[in-house]
Symmetry: D2
Subunit: 315 residues, 4 copies
Amino acid sequence: MKIGVVGTGFVGSTAAYTLAMQAVGSELVLVDHQPALAQAHGMDILHAVPFSHPVQIRSGDIADLHGAQLVVVAAGVNQQPGETRLALLQRNAAIFSALIPQIVQAAPDAVLIIATNPLDIMTHIATRIAVAAGLPASRVIGTGTMLDTARFRALLGEKLGIASESVHAYVLGEHGDSEVLVWSSVHIGGIPLADFAAARGIALDDTLRAAVDHGVRRAAYQIIQGKGATYFGIASAITALSRAVLFDERCVYTVSAMHSEVEGIPSVSLSLPGIIGRNGLTGTLKPVLNAAEHAALQTSASVILQHIQAMDAAA
Amino acid sequence: MKIGVVGTGFVGSTAAYTLAMQAVGSELVLVDHQPALAQAHGMDILHAVPFSHPVQIRSGDIADLHGAQLVVVAAGVNQQPGETRLALLQRNAAIFSALIPQIVQAAPDAVLIIATNPLDIMTHIATRIAVAAGLPASRVIGTGTMLDTARFRALLGEKLGIASESVHAYVLGEHGDSEVLVWSSVHIGGIPLADFAAARGIALDDTLRAAVDHGVRRAAYQIIQGKGATYFGIASAITALSRAVLFDERCVYTVSAMHSEVEGIPSVSLSLPGIIGRNGLTGTLKPVLNAAEHAALQTSASVILQHIQAMDAAA
Amino acid sequence: MKIGVVGTGFVGSTAAYTLAMQAVGSELVLVDHQPALAQAHGMDILHAVPFSHPVQIRSGDIADLHGAQLVVVAAGVNQQPGETRLALLQRNAAIFSALIPQIVQAAPDAVLIIATNPLDIMTHIATRIAVAAGLPASRVIGTGTMLDTARFRALLGEKLGIASESVHAYVLGEHGDSEVLVWSSVHIGGIPLADFAAARGIALDDTLRAAVDHGVRRAAYQIIQGKGATYFGIASAITALSRAVLFDERCVYTVSAMHSEVEGIPSVSLSLPGIIGRNGLTGTLKPVLNAAEHAALQTSASVILQHIQAMDAAA
Amino acid sequence: MKIGVVGTGFVGSTAAYTLAMQAVGSELVLVDHQPALAQAHGMDILHAVPFSHPVQIRSGDIADLHGAQLVVVAAGVNQQPGETRLALLQRNAAIFSALIPQIVQAAPDAVLIIATNPLDIMTHIATRIAVAAGLPASRVIGTGTMLDTARFRALLGEKLGIASESVHAYVLGEHGDSEVLVWSSVHIGGIPLADFAAARGIALDDTLRAAVDHGVRRAAYQIIQGKGATYFGIASAITALSRAVLFDERCVYTVSAMHSEVEGIPSVSLSLPGIIGRNGLTGTLKPVLNAAEHAALQTSASVILQHIQAMDAAA
Ligand SMILES: NC(=O)c1ccc[n+]([C@@H]2O[C@H](COP(=O)([O-])OP(=O)(O)OC[C@H]3O[C@@H](n4cnc5c(N)ncnc54)[C@H](O)[C@@H]3O)[C@@H](O)[C@H]2O)c1
Ligand SMILES: NC(=O)c1ccc[n+]([C@@H]2O[C@H](COP(=O)([O-])OP(=O)(O)OC[C@H]3O[C@@H](n4cnc5c(N)ncnc54)[C@H](O)[C@@H]3O)[C@@H](O)[C@H]2O)c1
Ligand SMILES: NC(=O)c1ccc[n+]([C@@H]2O[C@H](COP(=O)([O-])OP(=O)(O)OC[C@H]3O[C@@H](n4cnc5c(N)ncnc54)[C@H](O)[C@@H]3O)[C@@H](O)[C@H]2O)c1
Ligand SMILES: NC(=O)c1ccc[n+]([C@@H]2O[C@H](COP(=O)([O-])OP(=O)(O)OC[C@H]3O[C@@H](n4cnc5c(N)ncnc54)[C@H](O)[C@@H]3O)[C@@H](O)[C@H]2O)c1
């Protein structure tokens, strides 16, 4: 069970640390185009291993991914002052154009987990390139709204006084501003949210909903303002997803993947509940939504499609 | 975090092993009225500790529960040839009449987890006695249908090709023949079961439902026929419940507890979804059921009430 | 990561439960010549899975071990009244003669972990048969004195008031009466035992040593007297060993294996510290012993050799 | 089990994340004099919780540590351009003079774990202040050379092809340049290093020793050069130490604490193997060293003493 992590900034390195600590995989290879950075993280994580289960860790280059069953991609560049969103996207797309074929060549049996933002576009690009390089599309998975779903569950749990483990709630669509919190299907321990709230005397009013919505949707901004980047939540999401792949768990997670059609919008990558196993995404579930949620998901799909089209037009 | 286990037969000993291996609690005290049995289990578990996290384990008597924050009660006797169910119940009730006051005296701050069968009646008895001894009723929790819920989720998961972790399904009522599988609220990764099955091309017909129903309801019988007793599933349920108490998790589990009224039936102990934390059961959720399920839950409550009344009449 | 467990009595079933709970492996296949027993254990363990990580569990026959990377063998028969030790051994040898070739055929890439007693003889037999069937000898490992080592560490830890995790002590030789507690190399957190005891004011006298020696050597007898069999400690040992193989950990454990020579005794299977990884036993460490320990290890080797010779003569 | 983390820079925040993920403790309170930073980390960690066990996380101020059983202190300032080491030390000492009494007042039953550098001096200062505020000295523990010990084990493991888990090696003295790698007592699975190396054909020459020594002693510098700070290793060390306290494990770790005398040097704080339990440091082990190691430890103690004296003189 060899795992590669490509791009060992905050996200990639914290994911590698979490994978090591939770003993998912037996061998970790860290790759970054700043090799000294990957090496430093590798050393720091190595020093954590005696406190956990034995795992082998080293840094290397793409060729060292040979034989990996899973490759996490968190490589990316940051927006420069004055740079447009499209320009940034093009730079990240250029990175993927170079990286993904090399990864597929080195690890042709791997499942790829994409974490780089803008998540859905990068997943779309990665899937196109990987498919061209011979990988089935189902082996490219974006972390998508897994983190947003975790935020939704955690915040609802806090508001309701319930462990997030017992809060079943999902965020779909774009990993970004247009994402859709599926309020209509929230359940707490088997009970629909409205019934739960009524019975517990909790006012499920617009204020509470808006606070949770804001907390989920603006979480990244708030965290980035406070600490410059977000990485603990996403690292745990990557680790859960990696586990699901390597242990063929067939868990359902809200992951991003290329869909031929979503709410009438063709060929777009975004998050729907997906079944994750040894071969990647082995099935997508069609969510049950109310009219407003359908519309919001369609809007979200359109937003992503526009970005893809803008990018393609600029190419 | 001191935990006592009273009654170290198959269930109590396997629960103690699981608690030790998962490092829930830091000190385990095993008590059985066959002290040699408790001691032998204590030794066997002690030899597993070097492969896990450090935990202290010893056997002792009820007085050694002093200071325990949690006491698991799995003490009981088995049906003798020709013995009626009521006679058996009376013998177990006699055991609890002696045990519970001693436990409460030794560990007045503990939460009690009851595993002895017939589970709901024994939880009812334990609650009455514990309350008389000064413990709040909310600190007495029966494992109830936690195991049945796990069976429901595991079997559905197998049939649907999904990790049980992503199957949200609940069994309520009696831990026994009259239990209620709440099919109407089953969700798979946020999707109602019917929609899920339709989309995945799985025929949710009576045959499948009957197979699952039979698998859940008859599991104990089948296992007992094959191996004489059931203990792995219940030991894991006890461990999860113990974790929820000791770590104040506020998870929702289908536990048995004394309710003043269920579906019109007064003063009966049975399983509903409950919120579990440091002080035991800190809230009960009112399930949303269809008409047939309401009726079945009422029947289940009646069955339990009749047993309680028969027992009280015979006392 | 598919694991087979052949022989699902107390030891095999508890090992399977522990493997599932600690999420070592992703697929477990239980095999017993009493299929109803294997099936009942499989069901019971399945019901524990929703409280842990997703693992697939089923019962089957030897052919279902196809593709397993690891097979635990805990199949065996018990001594009949009046039966000699040799006669019992012959019956277990007969079982292995039938079983091992089938296992190797079904899972030619597996590492075999042997737990059946008399452990060292059964490991010897299994190795011979497996080698004849084409498996390298290094892929057959007996749990050996792993359990005895755990007992030594746990008991010393209790006597010294130290976590067994920080007690470094080893038992070598036969998993049985002639085993050798290597007192001369016991270290506590890097400090030789004698220095540790002197500094802490603990009298390391013959009484304490005899108590620990007795506790280690007679543990199985005491536990069997109290509960009929031992299984929690050995199940955790099997799980640790399985982890070391599947995750290529290269941990050192005192395992039984066939050695060309031990203390001048030729071709004998017994426990020495061994390095465990993906390919089984990848190296054996030569222990540093004092004269008495050398002699005791030689005696232990002779005892085992005699049993092997007696068995071969009777064949 | 409430844990406070004071100072949520790289080290404190990664420790909090690790504590949450490994479910040590049930409640985490993050405190930093940049409240927005503590809050952002709290949010990020909260989003990881749904992938792990339920833990409560929030940020707050020192008063919110009320009732904590453990407080991790990783608050500190960084060297300014042109600032002398002594001047830096004085600034950190000033921070502790303000912080520690407030922590002791808020959480009078807590054990304090100190991680701020220069570690041994800061532990010395913290102990003095805490004792003045009424805490027993044994309740103040510096992480000391726990990290260096982990580095020693990890590097030796890599060089020897053995899991670090089976490498028993210790670093004592200063957490810093004068630290002492105790080569004389290194054992691999019970075998002295020299015997192990000889038997495995590994040349234990000066080159290998120097490489390991350099790797351990210069690890922090190398990592800081590559990534700006070290935090994964130390976060895991803090988590292991926290576990040992909260679960009363009585593990042996090389922690820093105030000793009345070390190698003839009076009243100095540095690392020796210590027994860690619910009340903090419950015993210190006297290491067995060769002459060179004794001398090196004495030098290390002198170095620390000089820093303490310089600081006291400047006060
Ligand atoms: N999916 C999510 O939920 C989620 C959450 C947080 C962050 N992110 C995204 O993850 C990405 C990484 O974030 P970060 O905070 O770690 O950023 P970062 O800048 O710290 O790390 C990016 C790393 O990628 C490396 N890199 C750049 N080009 C490379 C190449 N060609 N080959 C190898 N490595 C290369 C850089 O050297 C750098 O170390 C960003 O795009 C970020 O927006 C996603
Ligand atoms: N709740 C569930 O889901 C569930 C599942 C499985 C079993 N159970 C029940 O758990 C109970 C235990 O089952 P088991 O298989 O371990 O049975 P068992 O017979 O192996 O163990 C019962 C133990 O209780 C001890 N005991 C009896 N009276 C005692 C007393 N006064 N004080 C202390 N110990 C006493 C006995 O010595 C024995 O060791 C049974 O009632 C069983 O039906 C419940
Ligand atoms: N190595 C150790 O440290 C250690 C510790 C405890 C027990 N043991 C040994 O482990 C073995 C198992 O112990 P147990 O308590 O589980 O015994 P058990 O009698 O409960 O189980 C043995 C199982 O093997 C099965 N079996 C017999 N022949 C078989 C065959 N041909 N194919 C498949 N299955 C077959 C039986 O049906 C039975 O279920 C015994 O030999 C015991 O002495 C070893
Ligand atoms: N012991 C070890 O093995 C080890 C290893 C690595 C780092 N460290 C040390 O740990 C410390 C923290 O390192 P870091 O990388 O996290 O540094 P950092 O600068 O990222 O974090 C320090 C934090 O302390 C906070 N702080 C400062 N004064 C405070 C006060 N009065 N109250 C509350 N918070 C205050 C700062 O706001 C900052 O967030 C440093 O001293 C570092 O040298 C020790």
